[in-house]
């Protein structure tokens, strides 16, 4: 049975102007070891799809009209909140876009990462290398040790000391590494990364993508990487799904979709990206496309 199997997912969101349907029948299957890129422009519904997997969209205002999301056999949309909480952090790790706002500013980074480790540890003590009967103090000590180990693994220099620093004492790139450590400390089977490098400089972005790639290869986990940047998809992903206004127009192996795009929208997207090799005047936006081309 697949790691993640999304079938015919239909989601509507209610705002004070009324309810609008956002996702129109999303189908996606992710296996371990696969890095799926979900690429689309603003308003394509890619982030909402990501949030639905850990059922982080409160209902209301969200409403799932149809479809199912099966994670290792359990249907996320129907699971009890308690079970969902055990999934989050332990089986599904999540990273969001902006490192400056995703870390609680008034707590030391150690406090936050240890809490996540403790949560994962209580769900499954082996994550912290403990037996079920371990005492609270042992849990806390093991969690802190694991946190330092994880911070070191994601490339935080002098992790043992810096664990007690505050978020504002870290650069954007470093903060994103802390967030990755938090997401990976529970040994998740699936990592969801929503625009993990968009807020970072190109040089830092390359290092973070390298870090994600190595972690995935080492732990053979599945990844859903949500981004609007085709370059990032081409660089790190094994598979890609192209989204537009709540529909997946095309999906498959990166080599097939990006080199021999079947859908005209994918082709247009590819032609819109100015690379270091694009000649002046070659760029053509979506001008050639009409609503029919999305029928």
């Amino acid at each position: 049975m697949a790691l993640l199997d999304i079938r015919n997912l239909n989601l509507a969101m209610r705002s004070y102007e009324g309810e609008t349907q956002i996702l129109h029948g999303i189908d996606l299957v992710i296996e371990r070891g696969e890095i799926w890129g979900m690429v689309g422009e603003t308003g394509s519904g890619k982030s909402l799809t990501g949030l639905s997997i850990s059922r982080l969209i409160p209902t209301p205002p969200g409403r799932y009209l149809a479809g199912s999301i099966e994670f290792q056999g359990t249907d996320v949309l129907k699971a009890a909140e308690r079970d969902m909480r055990r999934l989050r952090g332990r089986h599904i790790g999540t990273i969001f876009q902006d490192p400056t706002t995703n870390l609680n500013p008034v707590f030391r980074i150690g406090t936050q990462i240890v809490d996540v480790a403790l949560h994962a540890g209580h769900a499954d003590p082996t994550v912290l290398g403990l037996s079920a009967g371990a005492s609270r103090r042992e849990f806390k000590r093991a969690a802190r040790e694991k946190a330092i180990e994880m911070l070191d693994k994601v490339g935080i220099p002098k992790a043992a000391e810096r664990i007690d620093d505050y978020p504002h004492q870290f650069s954007g790139g470093m903060r994103q590494r802390v967030l990755i450590a938090m997401a990976m400390i529970g040994k998740p089977d699936l990592l969801i990364a929503d625009e993990p490098t968009t807020a970072l400089d190109v040089s830092v972005q390359a290092q973070i993508l390298r870090l994600i790639h190595d972690l995935v290869a080492e732990r053979n986990i599945g990844v859903l990487l949500i981004t609007h940047n085709l370059g990032v998809v081409a660089q790190i992903c094994t598979h890609v799904a192209v989204m537009h206004r709540g529909r997946i127009l095309e999906s498959g192996k990166v080599g097939d979709v990006l080199k021999r795009p079947a859908h005209v929208y994918t082709q247009a997207l590819l032609n819109s990206v100015p690379t270091v090799h694009t000649k002046r005047g070659e760029l053509r936006g979506l001008s050639g496309l009409t609503p029919e081309s999305f029928a």
Binding site: D98, V106, Q112, H168
Partner: protein, 335 residues
Amino acid sequence: MLLFVLRRLVLVVPILIGLTLLLFVVARLLPGDPVGLAAGPNATPELIASLRQEFGLDQPLPIQYWTYLTGLVTGDWGMSVFTRRPVFEDVLTYLPATLELVFAALIIAVVVGIPLGLLTAVYRNGVLDYATRTLALGGIAMPRFFLGLLLQLAFAAWLDILPLSGRYPLIEIPPETVTGFYTVDALIAGDWYALRIALAHLALPAIAMALSPLATIMRMMRASTIEVLQQDYVMTERALGLSNRLILFKYVLKNAMTSTLTVIGLYVSWMLGGTVLVETVFDWPGLGLYATQAILTQDFMPVIGVTLVIAIIYLFTMLVVDVLYGVFNPKVRYA
């Protein structure tokens, strides 16, 4: 951290000096003749002259200000023409009553306001939320002195379960003074009977004083909690499986407290300034009553004394709020 506190202290001195100067000018330049009033309608010119001389009112202004300033430091805050006692002495006798009332009101406002704000933020648009929000609007709008009257009407006159006014019945001997707060002194002396009387007298004025700050602190706490709940880091904490209880009482509460703190600080000065109203309704022998009498008799030294004390307490509270803000928000501490 110490440097942070010292730096704040240094900033307070110029404000204090400015304050005394302003008050001195306001009092001196204003028309109104305290000596004339004190000397009585048919006072002879010689009596008025000797009175003016006694209070040093005949010297040039800068000298008067300098003697006043040096006096301040040495505890000589001038004489109250009306009570014919040193202002400093009067202030010391009346201050504890006002402080006790303000602290009691503040404690009620904070102890009830903060949790209520948190609850209504989490269970938004529930019955509790709507009820507390409308009550809060009523609480803010209710004038303290009118509320005092209504409380007196209900609890003292009709139900007769609480004393109508006053701070301590004349026939009873108040507990011997340690802090000047009857409730605390009674506790120190372990005199439960005195404690019960003190609390009974304190209850109504404290509630009258506390309702409006309670409502505002509750609304402020609710607004900042809601804002914090919408932050990205709360979504990350939820996505990584932390329980709602842990997120709310550990990660959200500390952030929400930072902005509510400043409101609490502001309320101390609002309360200190407003004690005069509640004290008038409940004949509470505090600085408010003392200031009102001084103003009605145009005796400016006590007014300066009272305003100075309240301003000093305000500056001290703002310092405490700043320090607490530094404790809550590390970015400020390392600024």
